[in-house]
């Protein structure tokens, strides 16, 4: 249970405060409601590039990191399909520096042309390091456009191609900032040994004067229901064949989300998960295999990925995987197996609230979904899932026409 207070500044900035007096560290987490789904199809990777630029200096502060390091703080950020998240931790006695820094870069943009040039290169190197120069590193970039034809989830956050980053212009950057980086499009969470009144004062002082900006109304095309199975095969310089399957699933706010998430746990959570027991240990067809939900806010993907053991044919591996899917479709899951995955969810939540930064991130995310209080309702939501719900959601999910499969073959 994470207790919190909440208030909104006149310019629309939502602020959440969680008190935890057990630590000398305060976490500040800011979500901007913009992700790679909001990009232009010819400028993919832009939201993430922009995240890099946010460290390149603001109106009054030439470098973001240094003043924070000077007060013993540390920070970073990440971008995903749905939103951009900036976070920092700082000793409680130097908290005001965090307000000074984050409010300045919310006030106006002022990074240098040089920083822009350099960060484009840095992001291209990140693209290479994490995707292009890794075995199987492009699999997601191939799977997305197979599963999505219309919705912007069809491209990865890093972008479709490094050239999209290389061609970005300063003017596009300014437009992007004006559209998305406004207080009314942001959520700020403070967690640590702080009082709500103190945070109110600091927020009014530093963030209060910032222009409101215009509210962003998201209006993205809906992905039409998939009507036939799709497949795509590639050959790559990797040691072993792999298979990637994706089924369209419900959105994060859909009541079916919890059962769908538990299906992925039944299939592959922990070492006792069905796929690992059956396909890795008993039949020795895969060296590893995982099922997971993509975790997107809008209708996302339920994904199973596996690497085949050497000498195993794709057909044999896929048939065995299909029989595990058939099993969850036709045989009701045992009460004890469902209880197992629920217990696991409970433990994960308990462990995920060990640090103020994790709590701050959770609160900000659920506030973005609509209400931070949902962070405290999760356990009850998962607990209420029945064995019947599992069967029903599995039937919605695992229709063969709903599936996209990427066959990733090793060059011989």
């Amino acid at each position: 249970m994470i207790k919190f207070d909440r208030f909104t500044l006149d310019n629309g900035l939502r602020v959440i405060v969680h008190r935890d007096s057990s630590t000398p560290i305060v976490a500040m987490n800011i979500i901007y409601n913009v992700g790679s789904r909001d990009e232009h199809p010819h400028r993919t990777g832009f939201a993430h590039l922009f995240e890099h630029l946010m460290f390149g200096g603001s109106v009054n502060i030439p470098r973001f990191d240094e003043p924070l390091e000077r007060v013993g703080g540390e920070n970073n950020a990440f971008t995903n399909n749905d939103y951009t998240n900036y976070y920092l931790t700082v000793p409680v006695y130097n908290l005001e520096t965090a307000f000074w820094l984050e409010s300045d870069r919310m006030s106006d943009l002022a990074f240098s042309v040089k920083s822009f040039d350099v960060q484009r290169n840095v992001v291209v190197e990140e693209f290479r390091q994490n995707y292009l120069n890794q075995p199987y590193g492009d699999a997601w970039m191939l799977l997305r456009p197979l599963a999505y034809k219309v919705h912007p989830y069809r491209w990865a956050t890093i972008g479709v191609h490094p050239s999209h980053i290389e061609e970005a212009t300063m003017e596009e950057v300014r437009d992007f900032y004006a559209r998305f980086y406004n207080p009314c499009n942001a959520i700020m969470v403070l967690a640590g040994d702080v009082e709500t009144e103190q945070i109110k004062e600091l927020s009014e002082k530093w963030f209060g004067p910032i222009r409101k900006g215009s509210v962003y109304n998201r209006n993205l095309p809906l992905e039409p229901a998939q009507t036939e199975a799709r497949t795509h095969s590639v050959n790559r310089d990797v040691p072993f064949d792999a298979v990637y399957k994706a089924w369209h699933m419900c959105s994060r706010m859909d009541s079916g989300f919890y059962a769908t998430d538990l299906i992925s746990d039944i299939l592959s959570a922990g070492q006792s998960g069905r796929l690992h027991q059956q396909l890795v240990k008993n039949q020795r067809l895969f060296s590893d295999i995982n099922a997971f939900v993509s975790g997107d806010i809008e209708a996302g993907l339920f994904v199973i990925t596996g690497k085949l053991m050497k000498g195993v044919s794709m057909e044999e591996a896929e048939n065995a995987l299909q029989s595990e899917i058939d099993r969850i479709l036709t045989t009701p899951v045992e009460e004890s197996e469902l209880q197992k995955v629920k217990n696991r969810v409970e433990a994960i939540m308990e462990f995920s609230e060990m640090r103020v930064l994790e709590k701050a991130m959770n609160l900000a995310y659920y506030e973005l979904l609509g209400d931070a209080a949902q962070a405290n309702e999760l356990l009850a939501r998962y607990a209420s899932v029945t064995t019947n719900d599992i069967t029903l959601e599995a039937k919605k999910l695992f229709g063969s026409e709903n599936c996209s499969t990427l066959y990733y073959f090793a060059n011989k």
């Binding site: 935890d20 630590t23 000077r70 006695y93 040691p239 409970e346 308990e350």
Partner: protein, 430 residues
Amino acid sequence: MPQILNRKTQPAIQPPGRIHFPQPEIYQLSNGIKVYQFNSGTQDVISIEMVFTAGSWFQQKPFTAMATNLMLREGTLNFSAQRLSETLDYYGAHFENTTERDNAYVTLYSLNKHLDHTLPLLSEIVKKPLFPENEYAVLAGKQRQMLEVNRQKVNFLARTHFNSVIFGKNHPYGMFLTPDDIDKVSHTDLAGFHANQYHSGNCTIVVAGLIKPALMKALDAHFGGNDWSGTPSLREYTKPNASEKKNHFIQKTGAMQSAIRMGSIMFGRSHPDFAGMKVLNAILGGYFGSRLMVNLREDKGFTYGIGSSVVPLLKGGYFVISGEVGAEVTSQALSEINSELLRLCNEPVSESELSLVRSYLSGEMLRAVDGPFAQAGLYRELIEADLTMAHFEELIDTVQHISAQQLQDLAIKYLSPEKLFTLVVGPEEI
């Protein structure tokens, strides 16, 4: 009238107060195993970490130490592998099995309310593993494939091969694993390694979380008996045998980036220069604002990330610079690294930069003792090196007081470019 907000100037900086290092409660089980306990936190969870003198240092054949640790949970006297994982997962608990060069670790993470069910499983896996042949065949096959995938990565090749360059490929810290090594280890080797290394004479326990008074008794019941005694293993110092060549290259055709490693052997935590080197390392490559990051990433855009570290081991240690850079800028990157090393040797660090690093490191230490799990992790490293909290007091003292001159002397002593070894893994030799 409201005051005009001064956005130009950073709000007043408070100097760090005294960092409070929490002391653990220490007690002994009936057979002499020492238990270190950090009782704090806000969540009703616990971690029980068992440290064994069972790192890869002690193996006769590569893969033995790691495979033994991983196989502990694949079948025991009273539990099949499947029943073990079913039970563990049912109670939402998990094991972490880690093997390092010096020691091996088996950690149970559990909700306190299920500890009566999960603690017996920990006892089962460390004391009564069977190393079943069929389970080992699965694990070895899986590990072999994972290794073959990892060997496609420039970064993995650089990391594993660099240690053999600086320690020698037959030194316990220099050995690295090849797929064929895996085939040479049998399930009976694991049983032998377990008998020699996993016993009460080689074990220390570190507990963290919200701890119930009954824990001490439960630990004694499971681990305090004489049913798993043994003679403590000793580590004989082995002299490193570094390569005669300073520059090394491994070709990875088609790679878009080169992985760079540059460094040399150094020393453990108790060496008088260790604390000073931590500060010097921070300046060079130990945080986001370090010289390597500012130069190669923020100024040149050669890399997504580059850094350096001082790695203490129990019988020595090493210093290493590591990063992946665009293949086409590899030689420029090497020359920039070189010039940063020379700058450390030739110029004293400015007061402004030094004070920045002092503050950054103080904040890092504060974060390092934030929460019971962090405290336990930190303290465990001290126990392993036979040190006490006084070591951190000294570290803080050095961070606050070391001079630019002392840092420059350290740079000349340890970081002159001609003393360091270089390994590049990339598409073509520079």
